[in-house]
Symmetry: C2
Subunit: 303 residues, 2 copies
């Protein structure tokens, strides 16, 4: 296959960045991969794992002559990185990112893009709870959705090129308004993570139940939450700081519903409980039918 | 291997009951399996699947001459079932159950046990989100914990026999006070299910985000919750009705913590967020080290 890009720069080599590097290598999506990483350990790993043709500590150096720059760092770094590498971009370059919040990405990166450079905000909805350059794998994006949120007036050729990149990486692609993306992800990703972090924290704080007991009997449902709550702390801190309003909105609705559920338990309203528990089953069926979960995944939850 | 019991009666043939029947067959833990099920479909399935030597609609008939009776029905059925089958039990019989709440099990079953019969409350902490006689499998209890909560003065031989039964079914066994069990499971199982049901309900109710979007982008973390929220509605209704006080206690603590987290997001307190998200990681490590989760489970959660 002809490479889509001659020189691709990947900024940040965590789970997503290193998975991208692997799939680009495997499918020959770019002729050259240049990687920028802040820590010497990650730069060494990039070399050891054969994920880069050149490694850089300085982001302004890494993007020189790149026709595709993909930002794979926590959202909180976007503004200072874009400010640092913007002036080094060559005319015609396409810049994209993989962050979980898109309005803030546009706000933080857009202003630093020089004339002739197009920023196409993107988000592959895929991942695991593992972090770092060793945790990535080339199949991470297969059968998952990547959402692109180009602002009005974005060069269509650039959008098409980024969409084609993700399709060749195994992903399906959807175009969406950035604000709507942030609302959708607030409920399908950010709120679930917030709840998981919270319940694991609550369990960790209990005086009446020991940590050893929480761990031993985690197969009753808790262990799924521990997995989500093992996700990268800095990345998730930045998600909640940058998608604050949408998360607070969804959290407000969650809390209203939880209060109603709490009241149903307190007043022993079995019919209300059963009605909710019956209603939620069909969503699982929809997720399975959409190919986003296996019908017979490892039996994790229990009575 | 010599069978532990001559005649075992399994009351209820859902996920747990049918898994027990399978493992009893596979390991020869009883010479004869008698099954009681309310619905004609389940009784037919018991026959078709070869899980029973005899099937009964009437629970009083099913326990006659049984030396081991295992109750595998929702918690809300315990009292009326115990009242119905108690008089038919033979002297020396052992009765146990698999319910997720143990104080109510003792309260509902104990009074109906005739002299010479021992009730040993039990709970295998294992399961999946699937229900019914076709969903069970013999390996369900392997490497999982079964908790027994015999009240003071329970015949030790009966406790030992039930413990041995679960060990031969592949489980590890722990003895615990019933009230403490109910508190431990409130946090490791009941609260996670409540939260999962609630968030899936919240997502289902949104007007701004469509159900189709919730389903398509479920790989961002939501899909784990949909799995837990697909668990049996009647069983879980009864769990929350019978373990009401412990669940409300844990829910109160969860809500306090969630309010603090909400405030941290509102006031952009990144340090507080990062501190919690870092602290919760070690619990996951503990769950993996304890053999209650795989280090590389299917990559389900994402950014």
């Amino acid at each position: 296959m002809t490479a889509l890009f001659e020189r691709m720069a990947i900024i940040g080599l965590g789970l997503i960045g290193s998975s991208v590097a692997r799939v680009v290598r495997q499918h020959g999506l770019a002729d050259h991969i240049w990687v920028c990483a802040r820590s010497p350990e990650t730069r060494q790993a990039a070399t050891d794992l054969g994920l880069a043709d050149a490694v850089f500590a300085d982001v302004a150096d890494a993007v020189v002559d790149a026709d595709f720059v993909l930002l794979c760092t926590p959202l909180g770094t976007y503004k200072s990185l874009a400010e640092a590498f913007g002036p080094s971009l060559k005319p015609g370059a396409i810049v994209s990112d993989v962050g979980s919040v898109k309005e803030s990405a546009i706000r933080d990166i857009g202003p630093f893009m020089p004339d002739g450079v197009t920023f196409v905000p993107g988000h592959p909805v895929a991942g695991t709870e593992n972090s770092g350059p060793h945790s990535g794998y080339a199949e991470l994006f297969e059968d998952r959705w990547t959402i692109l949120t180009p602002p009005d007036g974005t060069d269509q050729n650039a959008v098409d090129a980024v969409a084609e990149f993700w399709r060749q990486a195994g992903s399906m692609v959807e175009i969406m308004d950035a604000a709507h993306h942030d609302l959708v992800l607030a409920v399908t990703s950010h709120l679930p993570h917030l709840i998981a972090y919270n319940i694991v924290g609550t369990a960790d704080d209990l005086a009446t139940v020991t940590e050893s007991e929480v761990i031993k009997f985690a197969a009753g449902g808790f262990r799924d939450f521990t997995r989500i709550a093992a996700s990268d702390p800095v990345m998730w801190r930045d998600v909640f700081l940058t998608n604050r309003d949408a998360v607070l909105e969804m959290l407000g609705r969650f809390n209203e519903d939880l209060s109603a559920l709490q009241k149903a338990i307190r007043y022993k309203d079995g019919d209300a409980l059963e009605a909710l528990f019956t209603r939620t089953r069909h969503i699982r069926r929809g997720v399975i039918d959409a190919g986003q979960a296996e019908p017979d995944e490892a039996p994790d939850d229990a009575d």
